[in-house]
């Protein structure tokens, strides 16, 4: 099987949802909310830090009111460009305001089995398998997740197994979202330090970062906050993901939703900078609207696409990298709806030069993992990358000499110019362009079936650099200690 060549995406197209004035209005509104209404930080440790820095704190409600001056100071301290390292340097990602990267999604509870096709509960082995397929796909730059939950491992030590299982499947950067307590964060970072070669080495080459969820509107989760405070102390990148849903956890109007998203992404950044000024933080977001009939989380739809692009613009204003919840369709199978959702969901953030798009490979609003969807999402992303590259206009690309030489009715097939440039034409890996006859002969095999074969081939043939046996021993020791303390 051939691997596509793929470079990190840098969009050359101009695309805007919000004007500069719009962005300022959202920003001012967010500052006003943080200062006047405040944000819930349900952790006394966090409140201590905020109070010390001059926030007005209501201990009973666990709400801190953040002065605008403090917020602006924190935003200035947070870096705009930093490294998310791979276990191998070839997988390093420099996060900045021009480049877009794609990750997997997390953390599914069901999976379409690649052999039987049946839907079943996820296991630890599924994490390694999902990471292995992602590792092969050049469009995927790192693992957010774990892509699925290790439900066959006791919950108290599951996050640590999930990190190990991920590393068994890939050498790419890993960004767990299941490390949501201070103690777990320390054990996880200890594992990172074992691989990196010590705490300082891990800070310089953070081979994992944390992702925490906000508790919209205007709030955070206590455990997540305390876990991220450990990350800040270690200088490890952390992001916070608000997912306000218009009509429920945010106003019905999208502008109002953007204010809530901004508050819930910016407020924990302030805490991080107070703990360790200059520690890398990213914003994350998956704002949406409820389904008006069921009240459910939608996963896809035009509001999501608009909010994604708009929040990307707001993050550029702050010069803080954004990890945007993209893909993650609400469709139950890799079908028409999945393709519609994921094309828009990939295109919009890339056009607004969002640093990270989370996450390929899931269905049913990030609850079902599908290998086929992962492969097809990567293919969508490769098309989006091509679109974002725009059209280069210069003497060589205008090809006036070729047009004149070929003349009326001729063709460019045998021209050297064609051979020089043809490899820039997008090439499919599973997207079906078979001639009709060949398609019939294949048993009507389209993208889905080709993706199934490809996934099976990768699982069978792709080799990932294994973890050092000594690292595995250390992991076992750390996990045992965690089990003893937390179990």
């Amino acid at each position: 099987m051939r691997k596509r060549k793929f470079e990190p995406v840098r969009s050359l197209l101009e695309f805007r949802v919000l004007s500069e004035r719009d962005i300022l209005k959202v920003h001012e509104a967010a500052l006003e909310v943080m200062e006047e209404t405040g944000v819930r930080f349900p952790s006394h440790k966090a409140l201590d830090v905020l109070e010390e820095a001059g926030c007005r704190v209501n201990r009973e409600a666990m709400v801190a009111r953040l002065p605008a001056r403090l917020v602006m100071e924190a935003l200035r301290q947070a870096p705009s460009r930093y490294l998310l390292a791979g276990r191998e340097p070839k997988d390093d990602m420099w996060i900045d305001d021009k480049t877009s990267y794609l990750s997997t999604d997390g953390c599914c509870v069901d999976i379409y089995d690649i052999h039987s096709g049946e839907l079943r509960r996820t296991t630890r082995q599924d994490i390694t398998d999902a990471c292995k397929v992602a590792d092969f796909l050049p469009e995927i730059s790192y693992i957010w997740g774990p892509p699925v939950s290790a439900q066959d491992v006791p919950a108290v030590i599951r996050p640590l197994h999930e990190i190990e299982a991920s590393m068994e499947g890939t050498t790419m950067h890993i960004q767990p979202e299941t490390v949501i307590s201070e103690k777990m964060a320390r054990y996880a970072l200890e594992m990172g330090a074992v691989v990196a070669g010590g705490r300082e080495a891990l800070r310089r080459r953070p081979l994992f970062s944390y992702m925490q969820c906000a508790m919209d509107p205007l709030g955070q989760d206590g455990g997540s906050l305390e876990a991220s405070m450990v990350a800040a102390e270690w200088g490890i990148p952390t992001g916070f993901m608000p997912m306000p849903m218009s009509c429920a956890t945010a106003p019905a109007t999208l502008a109002g939703n953007l204010v809530v998203t901004t508050v819930d992404a910016v407020s924990p950044l302030v805490l991080m900078q107070l703990i360790n000024p200059g520690t890398p933080v990213y914003f994350a977001a998956a704002p949406t609207a409820i389904d008006l009939q069921t009240g459910g989380y939608t996963g896809g739809g035009p509001e999501d696409f608009l909010l994604a692009a708009a929040f990307g613009e707001i993050c550029h204003f702050y010069r803080i990298p954004l990890a945007m919840g993209a893909f993650a369709t609400g469709a139950k199978e890799p079908d028409w709806q999945a393709a519609v959702d994921n094309c828009f969901a990939a295109l919009m953030p890339v056009l607004t030069r969002t640093a990270i798009l989370n996450g390929a490979g899931t269905l049913n609003g990030s609850k079902i993992f599908s290998f086929q969807e992962l492969i097809m999402d990567a293919e969508i992303y490769s098309m989006v990358a091509k679109v974002a590259g725009g059209i280069e206009v210069n003497d060589e690309t205008l090809a006036l000499d070729i047009i004149k030489k070929v003349g009326p009715g001729g063709n460019s097939l045998a021209e050297k110019h064609t051979r020089r440039h043809m490899k820039k034409i997008w090439q499919p890996t599973v997207y079906d362009r078979k001639p009709y006859g060949a398609w019939l002969e294949s048993g009507k095999q389209g993208a889905y079936e080709d993706a199934t074969e490809k996934a099976r081939w990768i699982l069978q043939n792709h080799e990932v650099k294994p973890l050092d046996p000594r690292v595995k021993e250390e992991f076992a020791r750390i996990i045992k200690a965690a089990e003893k303390e937390l179990g």
Binding site: L413, R419, G437
Partner: protein, 215 residues
């Protein structure tokens, strides 16, 4: 320059689709007194065979294949007349007459098929576009091809394919030649309806079809 070296250059110029260079190398071979048959088979054909293999493996693309075929053609244009003079013949896979139907001026697909067939070692007589039924019939009588390729891009010119087959029957030539049809609106169903011997959806399949028919 020794023979081995010039053969290597011939092979490379086909691989790289260097059309002008192919002609120059053919002339040089003549100057050096290399037998034209040897030049074709040891030099240029070796290149075209490798192009074919690499295309099958997905390592080369259609424009590269066409350029290679054009380079091959440029060399043959110089070497074939010499072969005739010496009353020698190169080994060919088969002889093909190909053209676009009357009132139809679309030629890129048909030309791709012609190029691919040339590259695959067929002797191809390309009659161009807007070819009347009588011309097809005359050429079959004159050139005695193994295969006649009929191309139609329009639904309105597809019936001309049927007309040619009927005319061949009337002239008693239908058993002498395999008739294959192609073009965007043409499919296997239409080929069966008009009693054609084969259909291919693109230039690559056309080569496979032609090989099957002469094999």
């Amino acid at each position: 320059m020794d023979k081995e070296q010039i053969f290597r250059e011939m092979k490379n110029c086909v691989l790289e689709g260097e059309i002008e260079l192919a002609g120059e190398l053919a002339e040089k071979a003549v100057e050096l007194g290399i037998h034209p048959l040897e030049a074709i088979e040891e030099g240029f054909t070796a290149g075209i065979n490798e192009v074919g293999e690499r295309f099958e493996e997905g390592d080369m693309f259609l424009p590269e294949l066409v350029a290679a075929a054009e380079a091959m053609k440029a060399a043959l244009a110089i070497l074939e007349p010499l072969l005739l003079e010496q009353q020698a013949k190169r080994k060919i896979m088969g002889r093909v007459v190909i053209g676009t139907m009357l009132h139809d001026i679309h030629d890129i697909g048909k030309d791709m098929v012609a190029s691919m067939l040339t590259a695959a070692g067929f002797e191809v007589h390309n009659l161009g576009v807007n070819v009347p039924t009588d011309t097809f019939v005359d050429k079959v009588r004159e050139l005695k091809p193994h295969i006649l390729g009929l191309s139609a891009l329009l639904t309105t010119t597809m019936p001309e394919q049927e007309a040619v087959i009927k005319a061949l029957e009337k002239e008693g030539l239908r058993q002498e030649v395999k008739v294959v049809v192609g073009g965007a609106p043409v499919n296997q169903g239409w080929a069966d309806t008009i009693g054609a011997d084969g259909f291919a959806e693109n230039a690559i399949d056309a080569v496979k079809l032609a090989r099957g028919l002469v094999g």
